[in-house]
């Protein structure tokens, strides 16, 4: 859970609007009849980030994604994709965008490969001679190479999902949008999706993943956006979000008294840890972890372990969505 790269990222949260943005929504709003699906959402997706879009069913995740991709016209507000306005500039941005939205859409009477060949034929950035190779590579990447000749009709839910993923990965993309990518996937499939997201991230691509599986988002994302009833209730770096408001640093040490004395002398709120393990808890408004630990060690406190006290994403999510509902 608390792998060090995430911690490192957490210590330097990227400022929301400072860097280049892979996608941006300003005041996006969409109503269907009297239902407000998305209500004035402002969202920045930094380039190179992996943004997890969270929200209960019907919170507007898919509608927001569809507006960002130009599939649905917004009633109000503007959207940008790779720096181009959507939908008017979508033709410039979309060739560099791979997307799996609202489930895999394929023709049942065609084989997996034939379906992908049809999609690949419409990809502007694929040369005529690259099509076959790109299709095979994508099938291989999602583990469908063996089933490529079978009709889509006979695919299991997981295989259909993999094929949809392959469609988004036909060529190197700058932005990949995956709407519920692990739907219907078995644990192995879910791991594959995680691996693919990580590969995309390592390659410098931006990824937007919508999911209702919090653990998955927590495992793969650098940024989170939480939607509730069409409104954005939280957005930002994952680590920063998790730390904000839940705070605290657990320090395991036998020298509880010395530690408390040292910290309080430095003006840092602290109290002895409840429970069996001897230690202290540093208040949430304390200095960064490294600074606190250094202070304690200099004072001669034997620090056995120091860990940021973190809320699980699940708690955060529950708190965010309960607060607003």
């Amino acid at each position: 859970m608390t792998s060090s790269p995430t911690l490192a990222a957490a210590t330097t949260p990227p400022p929301a609007a400072a860097g280049p943005l892979a996608a941006r929504a300003v005041g996006l709003r969409k109503t269907f009849g009297s239902t407000v699906a998305v209500d004035g959402v402002d969202l920045d997706v930094p380039a190179g980030s992996v943004l997890g879009m969270l929200g209960p069913n019907g919170s507007g995740k898919t509608t927001l994604i569809r507006m960002l991709l130009g599939l649905t016209r917004a009633d109000a507000g503007t959207a940008e994709l790779l720096g181009h306005p959507v939908p008017d500039g979508a033709a410039r941005a979309l060739p560099h965008v791979g997307a799996l939205v609202e489930g895999p859409g394929f023709h049942p009477f065609l084989s997996g490969r034939e379906n992908l060949l049809r999609v690949a034929a419409t990809e502007p950035l694929l040369g005529a001679r690259e099509i076959a190779g790109a299709v095979d590579a994508a099938l291989d990447r999602v583990g469908l190479a063996d089933a490529a000749g079978r009709r889509f009709r006979g695919y299991s839910l997981g295989m259909k999902q993999r094929l949809g993923l392959a469609g988004a990965l036909l060529l190197p993309r700058r932005l990949v949008v995956l709407d519920e990518p692990t739907n219907g996937l078995d644990p192995a499939g879910t791991r594959d999706v995680r691996r693919i997201i990580a590969e995309l991230h390592d390659g410098g691509a931006t990824v937007i993943v919508s999911s209702h599986l919090l653990a998955e988002v927590e495992a793969t994302c650098t940024h989170v956006a939480v939607l509730q009833s069409g409104s954005l209730v939280a957005a930002g770096g994952l680590a920063a979000l998790l730390e904000s408001g839940t705070g605290g640093l657990d320090v395991v040490t036998p020298d509880v008294d010395l530690a408390l004395e040292t910290l309080r002398a430095a003006g840092i709120a602290a109290y002895s840890a409840p429970g069996d393990e001897p230690g202290v808890v540093v208040g949430e408004d304390g200095p960064p972890t490294a600074e606190t630990v250094a202070l304690l060690v200099r004072a001669g406190v034997a620090v056995q372990e120091a860990r940021r006290r973190r809320a699980r994403l699940e708690e955060l999510f529950a708190r965010l969505t309960e607060e607003t509902s």
């Binding site: 380039a47 599939l71 023709h107 931006t206």
Partner: protein
């Protein structure tokens, strides 16, 4: 963390897959669709069935009706078969193709994929119109070609000639030209049906709605054209010129009816494609 450039003036130029490739993909898709193939097979049966019916009914054509004109006069068969198919089956086949083209793709979620590739919405309309036109042409050509074969083999020609309704005899070359003319005429009429069906297809996600609309329109047009008090409506009804293909069996060839019907079909094509384009530029996918 390496960050890909977000705005790249060079590679961000608007791009599109070559139109030829899109049309080829559409063609492949249309021809791989099982129902297209089944439908073409059924259309091949129509002239065969007529020819068997005529051959068993006796060699001498006596009595009213177009079908009796086929007896002992095989080269008439393709034109008669096309005219009969025009009443219902060919328009329905085209409506089915148009239904699959947009409403069906939307229902399968594949329309989204095309738009995300991206295929511009205008090109999508071109692609879909092309696919429907291909189905219309194939179905027409199948009826005509099988009609010529069945006419010559099963019915037998009048000394290899086509006896027109006006009592003249045309040689095989002239007869085939007439058949070709009717094929072009019928494809033009079907294009009008297809354009309107595409317009319906562009507003719905349910392919059956398209089929039902076209079937309903055919019935309504049929009823309207049967009411004498509404005779002034005739020039507006697409169906009122659908029997003009029979004119190819008259000599000298009167082109007036077919030209008028074709102009009317052109108006329907313009309106249908206009509505389709208008709708597709705005449609959610």
């Amino acid at each position: 963390m390496t960050t890909a450039p977000v705005l790249d003036p060079v590679s961000d130029a608007p791009r599109a897959a070559p139109l030829g490739r899109l049309l080829a993909a559409e063609l492949r898709w249309v021809l791989r669709r099982p129902r297209t193939l089944v439908m073409l097979g059924l259309f091949a049966l129509i002239p065969v069935l007529i020819s068997i019916g005529v051959a068993t009914a006796g060699a001498t054509g006596r009595g009213p009706g177009l079908v009796s004109a086929v007896a002992g006069n095989g080269l008439v068969l393709p034109i008669v078969a096309l005219t009969l198919s025009m009443a219902l089956l060919l328009p329905l086949a085209v409506a089915m193709a148009a239904a699959d083209a947009i409403a069906g793709e939307s229902a399968h979620g594949t329309l989204r994929g095309l738009l995300l590739s991206p295929v511009s919405r205008l090109r999508l309309v071109v692609m879909k119109a092309f696919g429907v036109l291909v189905v219309a042409t194939l179905a027409t050509v199948v009826v005509a070609a099988v009609g010529v074969l069945a006419g010559l083999v099963v019915v037998g020609g009048a000394d290899g000639q086509l006896v027109t309704l006006s009592g003249t005899a045309l040689g095989p070359g002239a007869a085939l030209l007439r058949v070709g003319l009717v094929v072009v005429f019928v494809v033009g009429q079907l294009a009008a049906v297809g354009a309107v069906a595409l317009a319906v297809s562009s507003v719905t996600d349910h392919p059956l709605v398209v089929l039902a609309s076209v079937l309903g329109a055919l019935i309504v047009f049929g009823v309207l054209s049967a009411i004498p008090a509404l005779e002034w409506l005739q020039p507006w009804l697409l169906t009122s010129g659908w029997t003009a293909g029979v004119d190819a069996l008259r000599d000298p060839l009167p082109l007036g009816g077919m030209i008028e019907s074709s102009l009317r079909a052109l108006c329907y094509v313009a309106v249908g494609m206009g509505l389709t384009t208008y709708r597709m530029l705005r449609r959610d996918a």
